[in-house]
């Protein structure tokens, strides 16, 4: 990893003339390596199976008031141009690494765009990529991830590690389906999902805050518990009575006038279900409240240095309880996506590990609500790309495509985060004397 010679025990005698490198950023080295590997991967794929034909990128949706034209490009040449562009960006990253300057944000972004364009023009040769549905689908798939990640960010900022996001999503999905079926209102289902998420958070808090049990263990146990519980209830109660208990009305898409008609952005962001609009509000509120209000200052204080908070009269454990209950409610809302938006009705283990990806988004987003939201959107994009590509029958095996979201998660968390610092008292219970 490092270019610095580590003295070996065998050398015994004289010290190696280790060239001591001056200040080095940790992220600075990873970037060129990742770029190089990705570029090589793309080039290899192109060499092994090149496709003739054109790739069509469709920008327009049906109802825009200005219709953007399709972009048609020759598949192979475009992909190769992008490889060259990627190489250039890799060279730039290497140059910056050698010159010990910071890697600015635009470098990875430009690389990602170039690489993705190259990959898509290869994978969709002779096909049509609907960019609007690619992005709109990404937003939709990211809903539970963003809600879950916000719940995670809040909990951890207050010093409670919330591994139970998965359980909160699943229990939220279950409660939403049943309540919406009984009342006939998806909004009632959403409220029930929040209560369900908060309930899981309450159990987490009871063990983690009051009884000092290891938070990671409690979280994992809660996830398993919710899987068992909902499976049991599904089989014993929901399945036999699916007409009354498991056939909720879905949230249907609700385009926002004017905003929804903007080309590209409109259909992606503003022709979604109401749950997405709730999400926008929640993201904004959490980000504002965490940094700009008394409540947020106290939550962060409790997560960084609980004793200091205690000495200025803040009730540490009460603050933590309140925060994780709120966090649970927010994560629970994400659960409603599965049974009220994605499909109508609950099914066994329908969250499929989304809670863990949300957890990854928390870390990738450096415990910041906005960054975590962006991370969750990235993961949502990876999931949707998988769906889109297998639909148009891309040459990549579908099993590999199914791995994609998780692969992106691992790479993101392992490599790209750079220096990130969790709240200092994250996961540490506070005991008063």
């Amino acid at each position: 990893m490092s270019t610095v010679t580590t003295p070996t025990p065998e050398s015994g005698g004289l010290a190696p003339d280790a060239a001591v490198t001056p200040a080095k950023g940790i992220g600075a080295k990873k970037l060129p390596i990742i770029f190089g590997v990705m570029t090589a991967l793309l080039a290899v794929v192109l060499l092994r199976s090149s496709h003739a034909g054109d790739t069509t990128f469709q920008l327009a949706a049906d109802t825009d008031f200005v219709t953007l034209p399709d972009i048609v490009v020759p598949s192979g040449p475009t992909a190769w141009v992008m490889v060259v562009l990627c190489l250039a960006l890799t060279a730039e990253a290497v140059r910056r690494m050698l010159a010990h300057t910071r890697q600015p944000v635009w470098v990875p972004i430009a690389f990602a765009v170039a690489w993705m364009t190259g990959f898509l023009s290869w994978a969709a040769a002779d096909e049509r990529i609907r960019l609007v549905s690619l992005f709109a689908g990404a937003v939709a798939l990211a809903i539970p991830l963003v809600f879950g990640a916000l719940g995670g960010v809040l909990g951890e900022r207050a010093g409670v590690v919330n591994i139970a996001i998965e359980g909160q999503l699943l229990f939220g999905a279950f409660a939403a389906a049943v309540t919406a079926s009984l009342t006939g209102s998806p909004w009632a289902g959403l409220v029930a999902a929040m209560v369900a998420g908060a309930l899981i958070a309450l159990i987490l808090g009871l063990f983690a805050i009051t009884y000092f049990v290891d938070q990671v263990i409690v979280g994992v146990v809660l996830n398993v518990l919710v899987v068992g519980l909902t499976n049991f209830m599904f089989r014993q109660v929901l399945a036999p009575n699916s007409d009354t208990l498991n056939s909720p009305d879905r949230f249907s898409a609700m385009p926002i006038p004017i905003l929804g008609d903007i080309p590209l952005i409109g259909p992606v962001l503003f022709r979604q279900t109401p749950l997405v609009y709730v999400l926008y509000v929640v993201v904004a509120l959490v980000a504002y409240a965490l940094y700009r209000t008394r409540w947020g200052l106290r939550v962060r204080a409790v997560g960084e240095h609980p004793k200091a908070a205690d000495t200025v009269g803040i009730k540490v454990n009460r603050t933590r309880y309140r925060t994780i209950l709120l966090a649970g409610a927010i994560a629970g809302m994400g659960g409603a996506y599965f049974s009220l938006v994605s499909v109508a009705g609950f099914n066994r283990e329908m969250t499929g590990g989304a809670g863990y990806i949300a957890l990854a988004a928390v870390i990738f987003g450096k415990w910041d609500p906005i960054r975590a939201t962006l991370a969750a959107l990235l993961f949502g994009f990876a999931s949707n790309l998988q769906g889109v590509l297998s639909a148009i029958g891309s040459p990549v095996p579908s099993q590999f495509m199914l791995m994609l979201p998780y692969l992106v998660t691992i790479f993101a968390v392992a490599g790209l985060v750079g220096r990130s610092r969790p709240p200092a008292a994250d996961g540490v219970p506070y005991r008063q004397q």
Partner: protein, 507 residues
């Protein structure tokens, strides 16, 4: 504000930390609480501050009995505390730290940061603190962080200020400045409680002195009392405050360090071109404010740092590049600066801790198995020899007092054939009796012809032990000076300034 404590008793399980303590503090007065580490001073103040609940006794402010359920109540009543370990949030700005728990807010709980900034600036100007309200606390020097703590208390209109061991982390200059601040606060009519175990400081600022030993008030003393009188009240028997040592019998150059550079994981050069020599039978003390490369220097000597260049030779053998185990086997003894983290395994018994540096071969290991009999015998002997106060050798290290823990570390390190002793902060958080004992051991080691490197941030200790003093600042040597260099000069050097007429002494 007038504070009266009456018969405060606080027990932790079977331990009585405070035994019916009574004292009073008047406005415009600096009242010193003097006592050893573990005498119960901090416990008493935590009771006063509402962090602990007293089992018996009363707290009275201006004639009214108080019932605090938490620090919030104490603060509301006008008590401010400057904690030994600062109660500041490192990633928050000064203004955020000062307002925390006492926030002025606008619409819907929105923070009014401007109000807090103004408050910080106002208090800072009034007392000449020079604190930037927007600086992040983690970027500030320790002395300034302490002022933030004071501002925090003053911004809540505290009338009684408690300083809990405030000078432990300060340079001599910062200490002098703090004394000045305390006098200013006193002039402003505040009542001040000053907790310390340092006699020099007590005599400099105290109006009245109360001495506490083993949880009890053992008496009051006048600021005119001599150091020896105060020390014997504090410890309960006459103590030797000066270390008796003869002139060193110097041998050949033993430890030779040349152009040592250490870079930490974040890429910062922590030790930057150090060169020095220690002769056999000599104590070289490293002085300097904490965090100026001392930790990295000692760890580099022990092979615990990864990124090291330069040369360290011990009796002509190169140590750089050797594994820690081979350095230990070469006869280097190491008393680490934090015994809780690096010196001991808290959940091991005393006996187990005593064999940590010889866990591979004889005398305690044979054919891969522990020789428990030999270990027990050794441990029993050392327990007596080093006067470790514990029930038996099977007591857990975690259950010992700081002084006794440190004696276990010292016993382990001095119980083999040594060719070099590296002692980092050997008496930090250790009671006076144990300090005396450990200092004697270090001098005895020197007298047996072993080179000794002592790192200490306590100037008293440096002056007491050193044959020569090396002052570090930002990883570089400011100067290597004789042991009788005036404290003022040393204090100045610790801030990185090198007096013009200074001459380095070679060994």
């Amino acid at each position: 504000m007038r504070l009266v404590l009456r018969g405060i008793t606080k027990r932790f399980g079977s331990v009585v930390a405070n035994d019916s303590i009574s004292l009073s503090v008047e406005p415009g007065e600096i009242h010193c609480l003097l006592g050893e580490n573990g005498a119960g001073k901090s416990t008493l103040m935590n009771v006063l501050y509402g962090l602990y609940k007293a089992d018996e006794g009363e707290i009275e402010l201006d004639g009214e009995v108080q019932h605090f359920t938490g620090p919030g109540d104490a603060m509301a009543a006008g008590i401010g505390m400057v904690h030994q370990h600062f109660m500041l949030i490192p990633v928050f700005s000064v203004a955020e730290n000062v307002m925390l728990g006492n926030e002025t807010t606008g619409f819907a709980g929105t923070l009014d940061l401007d109000a807090s900034r103004a408050r910080v600036t106002e208090i800072s100007d009034r007392f000449g603190f020079h604190v930037d309200p927007d600086a992040l606390v983690e970027d500030l020097p320790v002395g300034v962080q302490q002022r933030v703590e004071i501002i925090k208390a003053l911004s809540r209109d505290a009338e009684l200020l408690v300083f809990d061991e405030p000078t432990a982390v300060l340079t001599p200059q910062e200490t002098d400045e703090l004394m000045e601040i305390m006098r200013q606060l006193k002039e402003a009519g505040k009542a001040i409680v000053f907790i310390t175990h340092k006699l020099r400081e007590v005599r400099a600022v105290a109006d009245r002195i109360t001495v506490i030993r083993l949880g009890k008030v053992v008496g009051e003393a006048e600021p005119t009392a001599s150091n020896a009188e105060l020390a014997s009240m504090m410890v309960g028997r006459p103590v030797e405050l000066t270390v008796h040592k003869d002139a060193p019998t110097l041998g050949a150059d033993a430890l030779v360090v040349k152009d040592l550079r250490v870079t930490d994981l974040a890429g910062h050069r922590q030790v930057d071109g150090l060169s020095f020599t220690i002769r056999a039978g000599e104590v070289l003390c490293v002085a300097g404010v904490q965090g100026n490369g001392q930790t990295e220097l000692t760890e580099a000597l022990l092979g615990l740092q990864d990124d090291v260049s330069g040369s360290i030779t011990l009796d002509g053998e190169e140590l750089v590049g050797r594994s820690t185990r081979r350095i230990l086997d070469a006869g280097v003894g190491f008393i680490p600066e934090d015994r809780q983290v690096d010196g001991l395994v808290p959940n091991f018994t005393i006996a187990e801790n005593l064999m940590l540096n010889r866990s591979f071969k004889s005398p305690f290991v044979k054919n891969g198995s522990l020789r428990l009999g030999a270990l027990r015998e050794f441990a029993q002997k050392k327990l007596k020899e080093y006067d470790v106060r514990a029930r038996d050798i099977d007591s857990l290290a975690a259950n010992l007092s700081g002084g006794n823990q440190q004696k276990v570390v010292v016993a382990r390190e001095l119980s083999r054939e040594l060719r070099l002793l590296v002692a980092a902060q050997p008496t930090r958080g250790v009671d006076v009796g144990s300090i005396e004992f450990i200092h004697k051991q270090i001098v005895a080691t020197r007298d047996s012809g072993i080179p000794v490197l002592v790192v200490s941030t306590e100037l008293d200790e440096v002056v007491a032990l050193a044959d020569r003093i090396m002052v570090l600042y930002r990883g570089r040597v400011v100067g290597i000076v004789p042991a009788d260099t005036p404290r003022e000069t040393l204090g100045l050097m610790m801030t990185g300034e090198r007096p013009k007429d200074l001459k380095d002494v070679a060994s």
